[in-house]
């Protein structure tokens, strides 16, 4: 019974979508256009990089070098102690964003002014961070060496050997575009559903529908379903363009990403439905959908600013921003080839947020129609 009622609402919504070619064109072209614009236009800056250390030298000088790193505002010890000796493993497990590797013989080399290399390995999937680490660590090392030796002496060549894990060529687009996918999809999806109920309120068809024995949740879910299809198409287009135009690598499983995409658009559409129950007109719905998605998802998703650098209150706030989870998912799958195990938390979190949004929407819808 419930299923058949949801189905007929969904079917009606499909008619609405297909018979409004203008809106349909916008719904498909806008995300593609936004991918172009944003993908070419953004770039940024970073502090407090979690730096783990692997010290093979174990001399007082190597310890001083480590202190010099941590004394700068750019580096901080990892929040959790890291006991692994394989830098790749440290980065993959998320213990730190960068690893400083000091080979043995460091002190001796500086003292005898032999050329020497300091290793730094960075998580390159976050390209801002990687670029920042490169600059900051060169600065810290050359300052350190200068301080160790009396003036007028020729410096030994202590060189920085930087290795990128993931995204080795440090393309900014590789870092941004996956995040962009999350933000654009959220905006479009919320926009699409936010106007559906508002439109029915404006025209008066909702009042008629409410005189029939149809339950609120059936209407809401029935309205979301067809848009899942449309938004999923948007998602595929945006990802495709990201991959083709910006040559973003695709390390992980396409199927896994599509699966997450499906959950994500459903969550975003639920947000739009909630907005729809809060307003009376399509115009207000659109405004609200744009402001409610654009700013939080750009600011609080980790798309532009790293979440761990935010004030604690904002970090908590970011948990309700669906884009936060999807940014992690897209970057994880596209750049690092992450598996379902690594992303389980994000998957569950998205489902929980979707459920909360739907419950609120149903409550609001009931309250609104009884007024």
């Amino acid at each position: 019974m419930t299923v058949s009622k949801i189905r007929f609402i969904a079917l009606k919504e499909v008619y609405h979508i297909l018979r409004d070619p203008r809106s349909l064109t916008i719904a498909i072209l806008m995300p593609v256009l936004m991918t172009f614009l944003y993908g070419y236009a953004i770039s940024l800056d970073i502090k407090n990089v979690d730096l783990a250390v692997i010290n093979y030298d174990n001399t007082s000088m190597s310890q001083e070098l480590i202190d010099a790193f941590y004394a700068s505002p750019y580096f901080a010890p990892p929040t959790q102690a890291v006991n692994m000796m394989d830098p790749e493993e440290i980065l993959r497990k998320g213990g730190a964003n960068a690893v400083l590797i000091i080979e043995h013989d460091f002190e001796a080399a500086v003292e005898s002014r032999r050329p020497f290399q300091i290793g730094v390995m960075v998580d390159g999937s976050d390209n801002n961070l990687a670029a920042a680490v490169q600059n900051y660590s060169s600065a810290v090392i050359s300052q350190f060496v200068k301080d160790q030796l009396p003036p007028n002496l020729e410096f030994p060549t202590v060189k920085l050997s930087l290795r990128m894990l993931y995204n080795p060529d440090l393309e900014s687009s590789h870092f941004f575009v996956p995040g962009l996918v999350a933000v654009i999809l959220l905006m479009i999806c919320a926009l699409l559903t936010s106007i559906t109920i508002a439109r029915e309120k404006e025209v008066g068809t909702l009042e008629q529908l409410m005189t029939a024995p149809v339950k609120s949740h059936q209407i809401l879910i029935g309205k979301i379903i067809p848009y899942v299809g449309l938004s999923f198409l948007d998602g595929i287009l945006v990802l495709f363009f990201a991959w083709v135009l910006f040559k973003v690598p695709f390390e992980g499983s396409e199927l896994l990403l599509l699966g997450f995409g499906l959950i994500y658009v459903a969550t975003a559409l639920s947000l739009g439905i909630l907005i729809s129950t809060l307003v009376k007109t399509q115009q207000v719905a659109m405004m609200l959908a744009l402001t409610a998605t654009m700013l939080p998802s750009v600011m609080l998703s980790g798309f532009v600013f790293a979440i761990k650098n935010m004030p604690v209150s904002l970090q908590y706030l970011s948990y309700i921003v669906p884009a936060r989870y999807f940014v992690t998912v897209v970057r994880g799958i596209m750049l690092k080839g992450a598996s379902l195990n690594t992303l389980a938390f994000e998957g569950v979190a998205l489902l929980v947020v979707m459920l909360i949004l739907l419950i609120f929407a149903t409550l609001r819808f009931n309250a609104g129609s009884a007024k």
């Binding site: 079917l11 068809t205 008629q208």
Partner: protein, 247 residues
């Protein structure tokens, strides 16, 4: 079976301090055509929305088709049909699609729907425009479509909120003839209108003013009792005197 299709006792609805409907009481017999009159803003639509289970009353009691309006709005929805002044079917769907949509909303089976569609389409002469999109139809045809949608599930009570607004006299006449046959078949009809000739077709009418029912009874009796020339002058005098009261 209950001989009253609609019963309301001291039914009120307040919006903040504004009493949109203020303690109205009425009972409508099964198969009766009841005219629910009043000036714009008198509270008619609010009252209808409460009776249809769309709006929760602030206080009072009421049953529609034997179901309590507070606790059984879902049961009420299954036994009533509702058609409003505004055409509220989907403009971008064809007549057929609109009707089949509402058939599903009321849980009709395919077979039930096609039988019912055939019957209604003959009685309301829908066949010629049923495959056109609603937006392209003249208003009279749209109203027929809306009426058909409201009747698909064979409701025992029909609520009509200014069903003939903006429609030509020929169509209005046909529409009322149809309402009469429905009433003969036992359907209770609760209708609001601004046309006094239509009010005269009703077995009983009530006139609402500022949230209250000020008179109720068969239209002719009311006219005689008030000593008015006809229903129209009675209506105007009643409302005008009341407005004078307050000033």
């Amino acid at each position: 079976m209950n001989s009253y299709a609609i019963v309301a006792e001291n039914l009120s609805r307040h919006f903040g301090s504004f009493k949109a409907v203020d303690q109205i009481s009425l009972s409508v017999k099964t198969g009766e055509i009841f005219g629910f009159l009043g000036a714009n803003g008198a509270g008619k639509t609010t009252a209808i929305r409460m009776l249809c289970g769309l709006l929760e009353p602030t206080s009072g009691k009421g049953t529609v088709a034997g179901h309590d309006i507070f606790t059984q709005p879902e049961a009420i929805k299954n036994s009533i049909g509702y058609m409003s002044q505004k055409f509220s079917l989907y403009q971008d769907l064809t007549g057929n699609e609109n009707l089949s949509f509402y058939a599903s909303a009321y849980g009709l089976t395919k077979k039930n729907f096609s039988d019912r569609l055939e019957e209604l389409s003959e009685r309301l002469e829908l066949a010629q425009f049923i495959d056109r999109r609603a937006e392209s139809l003249p208003i009279g045809w749209r109203q027929r479509l809306a009426l058909a949608a409201a009747l698909l599930h064979r409701p025992r009570i029909l609520f009509l909120d200014e069903p003939t607004g903006g429609v030509d006299p020929v169509f209005r006449r046909k529409f009322w003839d149809f309402l009469y046959t429905l009433a003969h078949e036992g359907v209770t009809i609760f209708v609001t209108t601004h046309y006094m000739d239509e009010a005269e077709y009703c077995e009983r009418i009530s006139i609402m003013h500022q949230g209250k029912i000020i008179v109720m009874g068969p239209p002719r009796e009311l006219v005689q009792k008030q000593g008015a020339k006809d229903l129209q002058t009675m209506f105007i005098d009643l409302i005008r005197n009341r407005v004078g009261d307050r000033e």
